[in-house]
Symmetry: D2
Subunit: 399 residues, 4 copies
């Protein structure tokens, strides 16, 4: 466990290598958080739920941090309001680095010295803390990408061109795969780690359906755009059409139309971690909302899979792109599984309290840390979300 | 059909008997509509989807009305914005009465004279129109109740005291009923009327559960209130707790705390169609949001039933209050049934486009017209909704 | 005084003759009030400041009205929030008519029977009440015009065409009149009625200037429009340009561009109390904000007069259109005159508390009641106001 | 001029010594700007209005900066929206330092080498640029103070205690000084620098009045607070009372009530550049809005001076605190002087376009750079402003 702890903690820091302290301080919208806040909050988690709870003699790095870096755990005390995370120019980044080191040292000591009873109680919470930190690793990337995207200079997170291997690869041909369904086992059961929202494992009835062997590409989505996809209400959910009009949406987030003044070109381009790059027809479309995903599916004469269909299709022989390169919106709202019980103790608020107003995404993205994806993982975001790496896989009924 | 048409249309008008033209014109919030608008819109429905489409020689009452009284049918042309419905002091109520008469006469003529082919196409749409009008009958009541509730005088919709029979009845004792579940048939299939969202009939797996034989009462909810239900985050979904804080919620909508300046009393009171009345412990609690329903259930150590559990329990021997006196929030988001196909033609936007961001309510309320409720009916509203007649039935897992 | 009282009260009612109870109940924006509210509030004024204060044995018509129809007099008790005036479908219009009659009878009795000491105290307040009611007579017209303007049918307040005499009259030629200025007497002093904000009479130094003999016409303003007046920031105050962009302003309020879908025509039209009418080049431009007035002046190479220049020019021999047909924005913010003292007693909040954030308008409009205009009158509205009958008179420095 | 240029530019940099790059990047509210933006914008001014306009062969440091660091000069091209200034984590602070150096070098070269004709045109604009930079020096301080004030840690801008000399000095006794007024010369005329809004010099009639020899102290304002000053509408302008209620104001900005959780103490404290300090009764009250200033004056039985009264009293023998330590709200709206002409050319938008919706402040503050204050200086802010160093001087009429 000590090695794994060190590796995850180091991986978080590695993500910040190219970022200035300014980059790591600013909050670009209420839904996104500063990198510095992510660095601190993931340390706060270990400090509060392990060190303060179980480690004799542990001294908090700074009592103020208990307030500043709580995210949403009402039971763990008052907290700094989310939309104001970007106002915290103090403590400076260097202090947060010291805070991480302080927590790392104390955790190493705890892991090395806990007696058996203490360890028994703590081990699964530490494991949760590491998966929690991996979630924030992905958020660091999506949040910094958003911050750079609202800078008129559109600066890159990683300077230099992207690896050429992935560019302009030929578009794979799409196939409908038939899944017979029936009573299927869903969710997680064995001793390996999973979040509480993936449990309990249970049976679910899945009706026969077809699912695409791959994700929707940029080329396919462009046909929707040029066919007036954003100009006619027919294909949209009512809330989705309202969003199109209110925000004047015309394409996925981070697509730059020809002649965008920020990066003039006669062709479409796309903004990403390497900055502005040529639009690539064969890549999966990403940074679309659930509304856009549904509208595209409706226009295609198809629909999105439910999360149970997605899970039932996971082991289908010819299926590809299930654990990347992007999260895949499902037609399922985020709800408790039959018999769901939230984790107990300090982390009981981890997942269950968000089970309304959100859609489930399945899979993983190219931002998801290695080892953090699995068949039963349930990601969730509100349907209007576009700053996550979210794409589309189609399904349809069997006629 | 002619008789049924006349009866439904007359029932709508009967609801307006105690209302002045002022009462019928004003819009009290964007989600509610003026009575006059309901009167016109339900006529517009028949005019556009039957008379203009199928009735030779029909002349529109007033071409402006096609724009003014469209609700959300994008395919049927542009429409007056919902939040501005209350600005339409013209056309006056008398003109809307004349409009209803004009449409009634034309519909009577159509029903009496349509040839067999025309009738074949039109009959099911007329039936839909009548059920549509019944939905608006309930909305007339919920919307006028809201309007009167924001008047500091808290005037009654129906003057005089309520029928004494229902007041202060003894509270029935609550029982947990066990439902074994298994593969269950859900949704509507036979020739009788149902909305498209109740179809197709399909199998669903329901795990064994327990459900309360009756609704949660005001007395039970009061214990939650006095136990600090609105003061502690523990029991609330995250969005629900945010609503409590933003709107400073302290009790269900239309409950008046002791010493409310609008209707001074030393006891709790409740506002309803008869005006301010004594709070009645035995009555089902109503006008709670999905958030409040979930928080109450969590505090009770229980949960809400899914819509499938609710439907599976419908025929349980000892169960009561299933089709009234209030709608019952379920733990199910409003989603398409497996194999769902929206109705085709002019009314294709009727239901499907709202299938995101809403929770299903089952049952019926004391405002629901007779003949408009059934086991498979799926009502739906956003989770924050409080102006509908929405209450709580508890369920729980079998340990 | 009795005769005058009867005449003013009757004039208010006469304005409502063409309006339905629906028209009189709805509030079209927070700044405007329903006609019914104006009818009640002007009665409330007499009830509270005369009848309750000075008339022995007076019984309030309805104690609730003291709360419902107070406008902004904090000292006279709590009050119904302004933006919610349109929610008061109860009390119905008929009750407000009865309220007016009740107050009229009581006031007639008071005027006929007050003893000399009581009368001495009350007479000037009654006079104030009558001028207050005349102000609301103008607001009834501007507010109902706004309500009708947001109805897509653009219905007329007065059916039928306007009197032909004023239409298409030849445009008078504009002249610069030179005013020498110097130390000038400003404000009101004699025994005739004036509001407290017109006092005390005082000396002010006015530098020599030129002022136009007439108001800016629609034709002149149209040149500004077609010259890109609303498309270039150069001529606008910073706040004005922000308003142009935020509200996408393109012309004065109530101007209808060619091919407006609400009243199709190939020519410009204008909406007013007679409904949609041909745009008339010779009429003074009206329903412009202070921002539009300043931008037009800047574009013209001129400026607006200060309120002191306006008053100093009042008796210039060749000057026209000083007391109509529209109010005239001045370059003066609404501030207290040197030595200003607000009226004492119940009406002390009448004027002084609004002396920030508003611009002074001078003159009168075609909506101003006869006898309610004078040289020293100071009207005032926030600079963005467009629903008042506000126009432009130009001034300039002497080179 | 070269020496003065170097001194002003260096003074700006000196203000940033204690600030991290994080502190200098974040924007705490739309009205405030990041320090980094101030550093860049003041350089942009010289680059655009001097170097690009007049210096042959000057090469812009970075063409993007022309867009990023324009503030409100519509005529000088498009500009980055003000509320988004805090999103610019790139360019990093080091680049802005390089930008300043680049502009400094080019300006030094220009000052040393401009031919006589070029210099003649440029000298007064350079002088304007230096005064412009001094204005931003004050804004750097007020904006950073606001940023630190919204940090729950309430960190100091300058660590360590403030100089003891100013603390707890005895409160000077207040005296009414009589000023006879009459025709007075107002505004600026000689060859020394002044902004265009201080011109032309002109005569104004000032009526006899009395003015306080000193500013209102914290002790005096505390009496207003404890007398219910923020709880009763009587003393407030209508807009001011609305602000009190909407923002729940209870004391001047930066006052900390006893037991404030951010810095627990049983006594009042005050936040400033030295962090949280004891509340000092003898210091002038600062960080009050115009509304608070007017309410205090009304409660005191006095009023604010007009800007002309303030200027007429400037040389009164016994008057103190005229050019500090805080700006002094006047009862005058910010309007053009008679005969006002804006500067011509690139800087014509400097002052005139803000002449609506603002109140004039006179004097200077302890944040105002030495040499930047004078008798005729007209500062201006919207009446709700509290983050500037704004205080109160009383005046009154002569009975």
């Amino acid at each position: 466990m000590g090695e794994q702890f060190a590796a995850v903690r180091a991986a978080t820091m590695a993500l910040t290598q190219g970022l200035s302290s300014e980059d790591q301080c600013v909050q670009s919208m209420p839904d996104a958080s500063p990198t510095k806040w992510h660095l601190a909050h993931t340390s706060w988690f270990f400090e509060v739920v392990i060190l303060q709870a179980s480690s004799t003699g542990y001294e908090a790095f700074n009592p103020d941090y208990l307030y500043l870096f709580n995210s949403y755990y009402e039971a763990l005390g008052p907290r700094h309001p989310r939309p104001q995370r970007g106002l915290l120019t103090r403590p400076p980044l260097a202090d947060i680095h010291a805070y991480r080191e302080h927590v790392n040292r104390a955790m190493e000591h705890f892991i090395a010295n806990a007696d058996s009873a203490t360890w028994h109680a703590a081990a699964s919470v530490i494991e949760l803390g590491l998966h929690h930190e991996q979630q924030h690793q992905e958020l660091i990337l999506t949040d910094i990408l958003h911050l750079l995207s609202v800078n008129p200079l559109l600066p890159p997170y990683v300077p230099g061109p992207p690896p050429t291997a992935t560019a302009h690869s030929p578009e794979p041909s799409a196939q409908w795969l038939t899944v017979q369904g029936g009573l299927q086992t869903m969710g997680h059961a064995d001793d390996s780690f999973a979040f509480d929202n993936e449990t309990p494992q249970h049976q679910a009835l899945v009706h026969p359906f077809q699912i695409s062997n791959r994700l929707v590409t940029c080329a396919e989505f462009m046909v929707f755009v040029t066919d007036g996809g954003y100009e006619r209400a027919d294909w949209w959910l009512s809330d989705g059409w309202a969003a199109v009009q209110a925000q004047q949406l015309r394409a996925p987030a981070y697509w730059l139309a020809p002649h965008d003044p920020r990066a003039p070109s006669s062709a479409w381009q796309i903004f990403g971690i390497h900055g502005v790059q040529p639009w690539n027809s064969a890549e999966p479309v990403t940074h679309v909302s659930f509304y856009e995903a549904c509208a595209f599916a409706e226009w295609s004469g198809a629909r999105l899979p439910t999360e149970f269909e997605w899970e039932a299709a996971f082991d289908a022989p010819a299926i590809t792109q299930m654990l990347g390169p992007c999260w895949q919106w499902t037609r399922s709202s985020y709800e408790p599984y039959p018999g769901f019980r939230a984790r107990s103790g300090a982390v009981r608020e981890y997942n269950g309290k968000f089970m309304v107003g959100q859609q489930v995404l399945r899979g993983a993205s190219h931002f998801t840390p290695a080892g953090h994806s699995r068949k039963t993982y349930r990601n969730f975001f509100p349907p209007a979300t576009r700053w996550q790496v979210s794409g589309i896989r189609l399904a349809r009924d069997i006629a």
